[in-house]
Every structure is written in structure tokens, then in C-alpha cells.
């Protein structure tokens, strides 16, 4: 078996006796864009949190051959960056201050954190269409604005693996488009490997190179995106019927729901 850049083997996550993930195996090369799809409660967030080092796990999660559990939190933070679905509402900091903290893991142990040039912070915020939020308090931002800032913080933090948990939930269509453009740009220019939890099947089909279908804590399928386009896997995943129509530009099959009559 070829070892991938991100290599997950027999991953198991338990929380107080409940098995949340079991036997999940998945490997992707560097620069892959993997979408994690699955119904509610399938373990998508658990998986991405385990990959971020926030859940204890059995089995193995390797980044470039290094086991995640053996990495010091600082080393981990220099390589892997995580964007949660929703941030803590009690954050007392301004957006600018929050971004200043992003590179805590960089620089020496005793200095604690690399100083980030103010211009870089402003540029990254502008890139995420959040330039005007710089001096606002994070806790007073809307859900979408918070997601933009979280993304900006992740971009400032850097690293070669980016983990995003439903980053598009609160975004308007323009910003969601922008988000995927930013992610694709990161993958192409910096070979960042991206794992994204999403409910948007068509986004996944259009933008990602790989998919991981999770159901009931187990991996139903994992591999290149092209192989799920027949729809059988999606039907099994969501227990629901889809119709497929070709995308007008690319010809890739898009899933559309069936019409329901009364």
C-alpha cells in the first residue's frame, strides 16, 4: 500500500465508552483537496478534530510519515491548522489582536510566538474580505464574519495541512465562492493539503480531488472524487435518491434533489 502524505489507518475515537469513529482508513497525496461528506452524526467533526490533535484516538494519523500523537503541540501547530465550525462566543479580543496570536507556535520556545508584520495581517484580512473588521471585537461579529476571521487566522498561522469544519455554513454565496477560490489557490501555489467537512455535495464534486464518505462512524468510501459521480455511493450515504445533471461548464455530474409532490 502506498503511504500517502496524510495517512489515516484504523482510526478509532471513543468518548466515554461511545465509539464515535471506527476503522477509518484514508490516504491522500500532498496537495490533495479532500471533502468529508456524510449525514448528521456520522463523525465528520470528530474526525477533523482528531486530525487537529483535539481528540484522543487509537490507530494512526500520519502527516508526511510523522505520527500526530508524537508531535509536540507547537510542532503540530506549525504543520496543521484547524478552522472550527463555530468559534467561542466569549472572545474578548479585537480581530487584529486575535490574528496577532496566530503564530504562537513559531519562533523559539522561550520567546513564544513570532511577530507578524501588521501589513501581512491587513492583507490576509482583505483577502478574506474582512479588512473592515480589523478593529471590531470578535464576539460582536456575525457568524459569517467570524468564519472569515477564523479563515484569515488560519492563513496567517500557515502550515501544510489545513483542516476546515464546514467553513461555508454562514457565508453568503459570494464569500463562499471566494473561500473555495482561496483554498484552491493555497493548494496550487503552496501545495497545502486540505481536508474540509461540508454538506454541499456539489461543491465537493466540483472543487475537491478526493472524497471521504462517512456514515455511522465508519468510512463508506474514500478515494478520488471521480469515482462517486455515479451516485450509488451518495444514495447509500444519505439514504436518499438524487438525480444527476451535467454541470454546464465542466460536464461533471451534479446532484439535484428529486421533486416531491404533495
Amino acid at each position: 500500500m502506498i503511504e500517502g502524505f496524510v495517512d489515516i489507518r484504523d482510526l478509532e475515537v471513543r468518548l466515554g465508552g461511545t465509539v464515535l469513529l471506527e476503522g477509518v482508513t484514508c490516504a491522500v497525496p500532498q496537495g490533495a483537496f479532500l471533502s468529508i461528506l456524510g449525514p448528521n452524526g456520522a463523525g465528520k467533526t470528530t474526525l477533523i478534530r482528531a486530525m487537529a490533535g483535539l481528540n484522543r484516538y487509537q490507530g494512526s494519523i500520519r502527516y508526511g510519515g510523522t505520527e500526530l500523537a508524537t508531535l509536540h503541540p507547537r510542532e503540530r501547530a506549525r504543520r496543521v491548522c484547524y478552522v472550527p465550525q463555530q468559534s467561542n462566543g466569549a472572545v474578548p479580543f479585537r480581530v487584529y489582536e486575535l490574528l496577532q496570536m496566530a503564530r504562537y507556535a513559531h519562533g523559539g520556545t522561550w520567546r513564544g510566538g513570532e511577530r507578524i508584520p501588521p501589513q501581512e495581517i491587513r492583507d490576509t484580512l482583505s483577502l478574506c474580505q474582512a479588512g473592515e473588521l480589523e478593529q471590531r471585537l470578535f464576539c460582536e461579529l456575525s457568524g459569517g464574519e467570524q468564519q472569515k476571521v477564523s479563515l484569515a487566522a488560519a492563513l496567517v498561522q500557515g502550515g501544510d495541512v489545513l483542516l476546515l469544519d464546514e467553513p461555508g455554513t454562514f457565508l453568503d454565496p459570494r464569500m463562499e465562492d471566494e473561500l473555495f477560490a482561496i483554498l484552491c489557490e493555497l493548494r496550487d501555489s503552496r501545495a497545502v493539503t486540505i481536508f474540509i467537512v461540508t454538506h454541499d455535495i456539489n461543491r465537493a464534486l466540483l472543487s475537491s480531488s478526493h472524497v471521504l464518505l462517512l456514515k455511522g462512524g465508519r468510512a463508506l468510501f474514500s478515494g478520488p472524487v471521480g469515482t462517486i459521480a455515479d451516485g450509488e455511493a451518495l444514495k447509500e450515504l444519505f439514504d436518499t435518491d438524487f438525480l444527476f445533471v451535467p454541470h454546464p461548464e465542466t460536464g461533471i455530474a451534479m446532484a439535484v434533489p428529486r421533486r416531491r409532490n404533495g
Partner: protein, 346 residues
């Protein structure tokens, strides 16, 4: 700290605060039931002038102890509020004060009168009580798989309640004069003679404060959220434990000498956060200085307001604490958040 991200407004506020605090600390030794004048104190450096004796043996140690205690309690309060992301956290939330008080009350009941290295037995007993509560909270927390601060917070509250019932039990067994002595201790005060108590408390405050300042960035990140801190590379669990032990020892050292002076550790961090923002690199030093000056000022008022009698300073701070808290609540309901603590979380 030129790179602390302070804009010019807070810089002036910090300077003004430092100025007021230093002025307050310089004036305080001259105020009291008997006002002293610099001319009396510094006139006869050779002779045993009563003013000189009062100044150097009573007033100056008292101001120094006030500075030490106010700084220690305010630093610990700021640390606990950040650590638990809770506006209501105080240095006493995790049961340290009740542990210390249990030790003190037990010492009074057993009628033990002894000194160890210049430290009175009651201070030693309360220090042991405080350490006991720290060890219990620590022991419970490390056994849980919970990475958040919730287990520690609940363990602290439970230990606190347990010790307060033990205090009641011992109090019931004491006679009238012992009971009065215990209640007087529980009010908290800064009455000192000489420098022995200060030498006893200073190492705790210095070491604890040093650890907190060293972990200022970690405290920033943890005060945002555990996940946020962890994904930025903080070893959240270890950091939380270290901060807890450092802040607790600091509180234990102070409470052992002064008794549990209330509300300073709750009020000062809120006021300072409002003035200089939530970054702990700035907030902690400002808290230490302002907290020290605040307690010294309170003590000046407490020892003159009903002269020739002296009010224990803990009574005054408690009197200020209630209205302050109501103001905090009203403000929070208007702004939807507690003085820069983000959303009001109860």
C-alpha cells in the same frame, strides 16, 4: 513591550494609572489615625522619634503588605477569569480561601501559639489549609479526561463548599472569644508590625506572578478558547495546571498573612481590562500595580474613617464589592457583555 499592540489611547491610560498608583503608594504611609508629616519623620534620623518609629515599623510595612496582597489577589483574579473565561471567577473561586480559613480556624480552636521562622502558627496553618485545597482540586482534575476547565471549576466549588462546612463545624466547637478571633481573621486585614509577614508572603507573590507573566501569551490564547489555543499550539492541559498552581500558591501565601480580603481580585481585573484591554502582557502588570495601590487606598480609608478605631480593610472592600457588582451587571445588560469579557456567560 513596544510590540504589545497597544494604540496610543491605552498607552496614556497605562501611564496615568502608573502615576496615580505611585502617588497613592507614596502618600499612604503618612495617612492614618495620626497623620504624619515628612518633616517629623525625616527630621531626626538619629533620635528615636515616635513619628519615625510609627512610620518605619507600622505604616511602611502596612503599605508594603497592602501592595503585595493587592497585587497578588488581582493577578490571581485576572488569571482565573482568563483561565475559566468567566467574569465571576475570583482568586477564591477554587476554594483556596476556604482551605486557608479552615486552617486558621483550626489553629485558633486548638489554641496553638507558636512561631516558625518568624511566621505565626495561624499563618502556617492557613498556608497548609490552602495547599490542601490546591492538592485536592489538582488531584480531582488530573483524574478526569476532561480537557476543558469545567471539571476544575466544579471541583474547586465543591472543595470550597466542603471546607466552609468544616469551618462551621470547628466554629461550633469553639468558645466565645475564640469565635470572635476566628471571625476577625475571616474579615481580612493588613495589621502588621515589622517586616516578617511581608518576607513570608513576598516569595509566593513573586514566584506566582513571575509564572503568570511568563505564560501571558498562553493565557491570552486560553482566554479565547481551549480549541483555539490548542490549534495554535498550546499544550492546554499542562498550561492550565501550571497557571492554576502558580495563581493558587500566590493566593495561599497572601491569604495566610492577611486573611481572605474579598472582592479585590474580582474588581481590579475588570477595571484594568476596561482600561487597557484583555492582552495579558499589559493587563497583568497593570493589575499588579493598580491592585496594590487600590488595596492600599482602601486601607487608608478603612483605618481613618472611624478613627481612633480601625475598620478591617476586608470589610471595606466587601462593602465596595456589592455595588461594583451591580454596576457590572447593569453595564453587562446594556452592552451584552461583561467589561471586555466577551459575551456574558454565567
Amino acid at each position: 513591550m513596544a510590540d504589545s499592540g497597544l494604540s496610543s489611547g491605552p498607552v496614556w491610560r497605562v501611564l496615568a494609572l502608573v502615576g496615580v498608583a505611585i502617588l497613592c503608594l507614596l502618600l499612604a504611609p503618612f495617612l492614618g489615625p495620626v497623620p504624619l508629616y515628612p518633616s517629623d519623620v525625616f527630621q531626626s534620623l538619629t533620635g528615636a522619634n515616635p513619628a519615625t518609629t510609627i512610620f518605619w515599623q507600622m505604616r511602611v510595612p502596612r503599605v508594603m503588605l497592602g501592595l503585595l496582597a493587592g497585587a497578588g489577589l488581582s493577578l490571581a483574579g485576572a488569571a482565573f477569569q482568563g483561565l475559566f473565561r468567566n467574569a465571576l471567577a475570583t482568586p477564591y473561586t477554587l476554594g483556596i480561601a476556604n482551605g486557608a480559613a479552615f486552617g486558621a480556624v483550626l489553629c485558633i480552636r486548638l489554641n496553638l501559639q507558636f512561631n516558625v521562622l518568624g511566621l505565626p502558627g495561624i499563618s502556617l496553618f492557613s498556608l497548609i489549609g490552602a495547599s490542601l485545597s490546591v492538592i485536592l482540586v489538582y488531584g480531582i482534575t488530573v483524574r478526569s479526561a476532561d480537557f476543558s476547565g469545567l471539571t476544575m471549576l466544579l471541583a474547586g466549588v465543591a472543595i470550597s463548599l466542603f471546607f466552609s462546612s468544616l469551618i462551621l463545624f470547628v466554629q461550633y466547637l469553639t468558645d466565645f472569644s475564640q469565635s470572635f478571633e476566628a471571625i476577625r481573621w475571616l474579615m481580612g486585614g493588613l495589621e502588621v508590625l515589622g517586616y516578617g509577614d511581608i518576607a513570608a508572603a513576598a516569595p509566593f507573590v513573586a514566584v506566582g506572578g513571575g509564572v503568570l507573566l511568563f505564560l501571558r501569551r498562553e493565557l491570552d490564547l486560553v482566554s479565547v478558547g481551549d480549541d483555539f489555543a490548542a490549534s495554535r499550539g498550546v499544550a492546554v492541559r499542562n498550561t492550565r495546571m501550571l497557571l492554576f498552581v502558580a495563581a493558587s500558591l500566590m493566593v495561599g501565601g497572601v491569604v495566610a498573612v492577611t486573611g481572605p480580603i474579598g472582592f479585590v481580585g474580582l474588581m481590579v481585573p475588570h477595571i484594568c481590562r476596561l482600561l487597557v484591554g484583555p492582552r495579558h502582557g499589559v493587563l497583568l502588570p497593570v493589575c499588579a500595580l493598580f491592585g496594590g495601590a487600590f488595596l492600599v487606598a482602601c486601607d487608608c480609608v478603612a483605618r481613618t474613617i472611624i478613627a481612633p478605631a480601625e475598620l478591617p480593610v476586608g470589610v471595606l472592600t466587601a462593602l465596595l464589592g456589592g455595588p461594583f457588582f451591580l454596576w457590572l451587571l447593569l453595564r453587562a445588560s446594556r452592552h451584552g457583555r461583561l467589561l471586555g469579557m466577551g459575551e456574558a456567560r454565567w
